[in-house]
């Protein structure tokens, strides 16, 4: 008996999100079999299972962490779309956070839900359009995009993104950033091989920052209560 338009919206969002996710899943997992049938060579399931054990388990753990960490950031509509369209860390999450920040939406509010969904949907559509255009222009564009002089630019998209985000977030609370940044720098300095696992190092770094932020929050609340 919900009449609030936002409640109705949320209920439908979950229902549609689930249906579309299942359909996307069926299409994506089914496609290799359809293509295999057309090529006359079905997937080698044993080799796929061995491959899954060698790399898939790592990505499964990573997916669980991504689900736990990013779902609250993105809200319902944003989460379904982001998990369907991928490229979370290098695009969707910073994009949604940037939009949220810009309009001042607060976590868990209806406004945050709407802004995140608009942001992730727009970002996904831009990627789809650019990739489609790029694929159409692949022959003429290939020499330009593969010019050796430009390679460092495209190899450093993620550092460029995180450099810009670093200024944006560190200036909000420089004290909060000092400890996680120092600890991460020391860790990566002592064990440079960790660089290949940076996406996993987000978890201890995030936990540390959240812990410090919680301590500060509790202290401020205690002082305000006095």
């Amino acid at each position: 008996m919900e009449k609030n338009p936002y409640d109705v919206y949320m209920r439908t969002t979950h229902r549609m999100g689930r249906i579309f996710s299942i359909l996307t899943l069926v299409l994506l997992v089914g496609a290799p079999f359809v293509i295999g049938g057309w090529l006359g060579a079905m997937p080698d399931l044993q080799a796929a299972a061995r491959g899954f054990l060698s790399v898939g388990l790592v990505w499964t753990v990573s997916s669980v962490v991504e689900f736990l960490v990013y779902t609250p950031m993105l809200g319902a509509g944003g989460s379904y779309l982001a998990f369907m369209t991928g490229n979370l860390i290098n695009m969707k999450i910073p994009c949604a956070m940037n939009a949220r920040e810009m309009v001042g939406a607060k976590t868990g509010t209806a406004e945050n839900e709407i802004i995140s969904t608009l942001s992730i949907a727009t970002s996904s559509l831009v990627t789809i359009v650019i990739l489609a255009l790029g694929v159409m222009l692949l022959t003429p564009l290939r020499p330009v995009l593969q010019d050796p002089a430009l390679q460092p630019a495209f190899a450093n998209v993620v550092p460029a993104l995180f450099g810009a985000m670093a200024y944006k977030y560190f200036r909000k609370d420089p004290k909060l950033a000092v400890i996680p940044l120092a600890v991460m720098t020391v860790l990566f300095t002592l064990a440079p091989s960790l660089t290949s696992s940076t996406s996993f190092m987000i978890i201890p770094a995030g936990a540390m920052a959240i812990g410090l932020s919680w301590l500060k929050f509790r202290r401020e609340n205690r002082e305000a209560g006095k």
Partner: protein, 252 residues
């Protein structure tokens, strides 16, 4: 017809294009619904428009980077499959790794010369299976998880009625942690990448991040102090572009 020619044939474009089109329609549906719901709960349409503009400009450069991933994989998997993978569900840093691992299990290296029809269908299956868990978890537990957190199903209420909680700070802190991990990795790679504390490691990411951060400082100053608020929508994309130009100049 070679296997690579078949992998870039019209049939492959049709299969992959249909899935990309399906996901594009899903995005449009979610976007239209969110817009209507935003208006229904009294959100300012100018803010929603700003969200769309900022997200579009933000996504252009990373998308061009993702296009390079398509080009990189097209040499071994043809064009349509990498196009599908990187348009839907995939991630730039993930695809090559998983495709290589699958090829390895088949006793191959990831290259067009050694590719066979069965190797392709096996690699394609593994690429799909390894990264589908986020979607499965969202389908099975998304609603319950958000309800438990008290976030997703909260009633539409004006901001002023809510007590400031820890949620926002936690999100910002999570992001501070994420950025710290990446910046720390660039610093560590430079300091010890070529031997412990030698300061001779790979420095282009550090320079790129540094220039992007400085550019961001410049954009923030202009938008906050010089009444150029319109710049805000382009600040991340502009800073990234300047950072990437610095990477080209560093030329490593």
């Amino acid at each position: 017809m070679t296997i690579l020619e078949r992998l870039s044939s019209g049939t492959m474009y049709l299969i992959c294009g249909a899935i990309v089109a399906f996901v594009a329609v899903v995005c449009v549906v979610f976007m239209a619904r969110a817009w209507r719901a935003g208006k229904a709960i009294g959100m300012d349409t100018a803010r929603m428009k700003r969200t769309i503009t900022a997200s579009a400009t933000f996504s252009v450069l990373p998308s061009v980077g993702i296009l390079l991933g398509v080009i990189a994989l097209s040499g071994s998997l043809g064009i349509p499959w990498p196009w599908l993978r990187l348009s839907v569900i995939g991630a730039l840093h993930y695809e090559t790794q998983v495709a290589s691992a699958a090829a390895e299990q088949l006793g191959l290296t990831l290259s067009g010369e050694t590719m066979t029809a069965q190797a392709f269908s096996t690699i394609a299956l593994l690429m799909s299976v390894c990264i589908m868990w986020g979607m499965i978890l969202a389908t099975l537990f998304g609603k319950r998880y958000l309800k438990k957190l008290g976030g997703g199903d909260r009633k539409a209420a004006p901001e002023t009625e809510k007590k400031p909680g820890f949620g926002d700070r936690a999100m910002t802190a999570m992001f501070v942690g994420m950025v710290s991990a990446y910046i720390g990795s660039y610093l560590g790679a430079f300091i010890s990448g070529e031997g412990l504390l030698t300061f001779r490691g790979y420095w282009t990411p550090l320079v790129t991040a540094g220039v992007a951060a400085l550019a961001m400082a410049g954009f923030t100053w202009l938008s906050e102090k010089k009444n150029m608020a319109w710049l805000e929508s382009f600040s991340i994309a502009g800073s990234m572009l300047l950072g990437m130009i610095a990477a080209v100049l560093a030329g490593q």
